[in-house]
Amino acid sequence: MSKRIADALFEAAYLSLITLFIAFSVIPVLVALVLSFDARGFMGPFPPTQFSLRWYERFLADDYYHAGLATSLIVATVATLIATLAGTLAAIALSRATFRGRAALQAALLSPLVVPNVVLGFGMLVFAARLGIVDGMTRLIMGHVLITFPYVMRTTAASLVGIRASYYEAALSLGAQPWKALVQVTLPLARTGILAGATFGFVTSFDDVGVSLFLTDAFTYTLPVAILAQMRANLDLTIAALSVIFVVATVLLIVLLDRLAGLDAIVGRGVYGR
C-alpha cells in the first residue's frame, strides 16, 4: 500500500516539475506577447487595459532597428554558409583521420561551444585589429563563423557516424572517384545533420549578443545589440514587439525546415529516416 502512495507522490512531483518547467519557459513569451499589444505609452502594470499595434508601428518606422535587422540577417546568412562548408569538411576529415591528436583537434575545433562568447568576441576584436581589419561587417562575420562552425561540425560528425562505411566503399567499387563518392553518397546521407547544424548555427548567430557586442561599430550593429542599446537608452515596449517578431521568425524557420527535411529527421533519427 505504501508503495502505491510513493508511486503516486512521485508521479505528482514529476508532473508538477514538468508543469513548472513549461510555465517558466512559456510565461515570459506570453507576457511579452501581451505587452507588445499594450496601448499605453509607458510600462504600466500587467495586464494592459487597452490594446494597439503602436509598438509594431514604431518598430516598422524605426531605421535604427531596420539597419540592425539587415545586418543580423546578412551576418547570420553569410556566417552560416561559410561555417556549413567548413564544418562539414572538417567533420568528414575528422571522421576518417587516424592520426594521434585527432581527439585533441576535434576538441579544439568544438571549443567555441564552451568558451564564453564575451571571451570569443574580445579575442576576435584583438585578432581582427592585428590583421588590420576594421570593417564592422567583416569582423562580425568572422566572429559569427567562429560560433556557428562548431554546431555544423558537431551535428555533421554525429550523422557521419551513422553512415556505414560500406556505402562509401560501394560507391568506390562502382567506379566513383573519392570526391564523387563523397558528393553523391556521403553528403546526401549526412544532409540532415548538416542542415540541423546550419539551423542551430543560424539561430545562434541571429541570437548572439556576447560576440557581436565587441565587433559592432557605430554603423554596423546586429539586431540584438540594437535592442540592448535601446533598452539602456529608453526602455519602451518596442522590445516586446521585437521579441514577438523573433519568436514568430524562429517558428517559421522551424516549419520551413520541417517541410524541407522533416524536423523529426533533423533533431531525432538522423540518417535512415527516408
Partner: protein
C-alpha cells in the same frame, strides 16, 4: 596467357605484428565460382578487401585479367562488390542504384535505362525501378545489390557473406537464386563465407582458410571426402576421430596403431608418425553378423538423435571414445541404448591425417 581471371601471388597482410593474411596464393578461372571459407578472423574478408582495393597487401601481387593491381585504386578496378549489408544507397531509387556504376563508367543514358531494366529482369524484379531500397524485403535488396554490381559487367564479382543477413529458409532459396543469377551472367565470382553449407552449395571450388593461411583448395566434394588437414576435416561436416601412430607398409598401404588395435589404412604420401583417422558418420555403419569390413570395432550404444531423415547413433568405443554413425530413418529396428554392437568401415572410407587432435 592463362585463363585465370584473378591471380593472387603470395599475398601477406599484417595488422600490427599479426599477419591477418599469410602467404596466400590462388587463381580463379573464367566463369568459376570460388568460395573463401573459414571461421571468423581467418583472413577471408581481408583477402576480399585486398582484391577490391580497400586494403593493400604488404607483400605479394594481385592480378585481375592479367593486369597488376598494385597501383590501382578501387574505382580503377573492374570489380563488382556485393556487401554483407548490401550497401544500397538509401537516398536513391532502385534504378538510380543500379545506374550508379554505369554513370561513373561513362555508359550512355539511353543504354543505362535499357540495361537497368534488363538487369532487373534478370534478377526477377521487373518494374521495381522507382522503389526505394527501404521498401524492399531483405531478399529483394540482395538481388538489387547483385544487379547493381553485375550490370557494370565486372571482370570478377566479390560477394561478402551474401546470405548471412537472411533467415534460414530464405537463405536456401536465395542460394539457388544467386547460383542461377551468377550463371546467367557467366560471371567469375568469389564468395566469402563462414558457412560451409553455403560454400558447398554455391562454389565450384573452395579455398579453406585458417589463421590467415590456406588449409586446402579443392572442390566441395574433394574437400569433404579427402580433407588433407585435421582443420579441414573438422571444419567441414561431422567426423569421428581415432588417434594413433602411422607406420607405412610399403606402397600406399599402412597401419595406424591405436588403443583399439591396428587399423589398416591407405597412407598416401604421409610419413610415419602421429596420425589421426577421420571417419565420416555416414561411412561408419552398424554391422550385421555377415559383414566383413576392413575394420570392425566393438562399441556400446549410448543414445539416438533423430534429425528427421537420418538417425544419429552415438556409441562408445572400448577406449572410451564417443563416435557417431548415421543410419537412414527407414523404419528398421535399431539397437537400443546399452546394446553392444559392432561398428565398421572400409579402408577407403577413412582418411588418415597428420598430427593428433588436442584432447577435448
Amino acid at each position: 596467357m592463362s585463363m585465370a581471371v584473378l591471380e593472387l601471388q603470395n599475398i601477406t597482410k599484417r595488422f600490427g605484428s599479426a599477419a591477418a593474411v599469410d602467404d596466400v596464393s590462388f587463381e580463379v578461372q573464367r566463369g568459376e565460382i570460388l568460395a573463401l571459407l573459414g571461421p571468423s578472423g581467418c583472413g577471408k574478408t581481408t583477402t576480399l578487401r585486398m582484391i577490391a582495393g580497400f586494403e593493400w597487401p604488404d607483400e605479394g601481387r594481385i592480378f585481375i585479367g592479367g593486369d597488376d593491381m598494385e597501383l590501382r585504386q578501387p574505382y580503377e578496378r573492374n570489380v563488382g562488390l556485393v556487401f554483407q549489408d548490401y550497401a544500397l544507397f538509401p537516398h536513391m531509387s532502385v534504378a538510380q542504384n543500379i545506374a550508379f556504376g554505369m554513370k561513373n563508367r561513362g555508359v550512355k543514358r539511353a543504354e543505362i535505362g535499357r540495361r537497368v531494366a534488363e538487369a532487373l529482369e534478370q534478377v526477377q524484379l521487373p518494374g521495381m525501378e522507382s522503389r526505394r531500397p527501404s521498401a524492399l524485403s531483405g531478399g529483394q535488396q540482395q538481388r538489387v545489390a547483385l544487379a547493381r554490381a553485375l550490370v557494370t559487367r565486372p571482370d570478377i564479382m566479390l560477394l561478402d557473406e551474401p546470405l548471412s543477413n537472411l533467415d534460414a529458409k530464405l537463405r536456401l532459396q536465395l542460394r539457388r537464386e544467386i547460383r542461377t543469377i551468377l550463371g546467367t551472367f557467366g560471371c567469375t565470382s568469389i564468395i566469402v563465407t563462414h558457412d560451409q553449407e553455403e560454400a558447398m552449395g554455391l562454389a565450384d571450388r573452395i579455398v579453406l582458410m585458417n589463421k590467415g593461411r590456406i588449409e586446402q583448395i579443392d572442390t566441395p566434394h574433394a574437400l569433404y571426402q579427402t580433407p588433407r588437414t585435421l582443420f579441414a576435416a573438422d571444419f567441414i561436416g561431422h567426423a569421428n576421430w581415432i588417434g594413433g601412430m602411422l607406420s607405412r607398409r610399403g606402397g600406399e598401404a599402412g597401419v595406424v596403431k591405436t588403443a583399439l588395435g591396428e587399423i589398416p589404412v591407405m597412407s598416401g604420401d604421409l610419413g610415419d608418425g602421429p596420425a589421426t583417422l577421420c571417419i565420416r558418420p555416414e561411412r561408419l555403419s552398424l554391422l550385421d553378423a555377415a559383414a566383413r569390413p576392413d575394420t570392425a570395432l566393438d562399441a556400446v550404444v549410448e543414445r539416438h538423435d533423430l534429425t528427421g531423415a537420418d538417425l544419429r547413433i552415438w556409441s562408445r568405443l572400448a577406449d572410451g571414445t564417443l563416435v557417431q554413425s548415421l543410419e537412414k530413418n527407414v523404419g528398421r529396428h535399431l539397437p537400443e541404448p546399452g546394446t553392444a554392437v559392432r561398428l565398421g568401415f572400409r579402408m577407403a572410407d577413412c582418411v588418415v591425417l597428420p598430427g593428433r587432435r588436442p584432447q577435448a
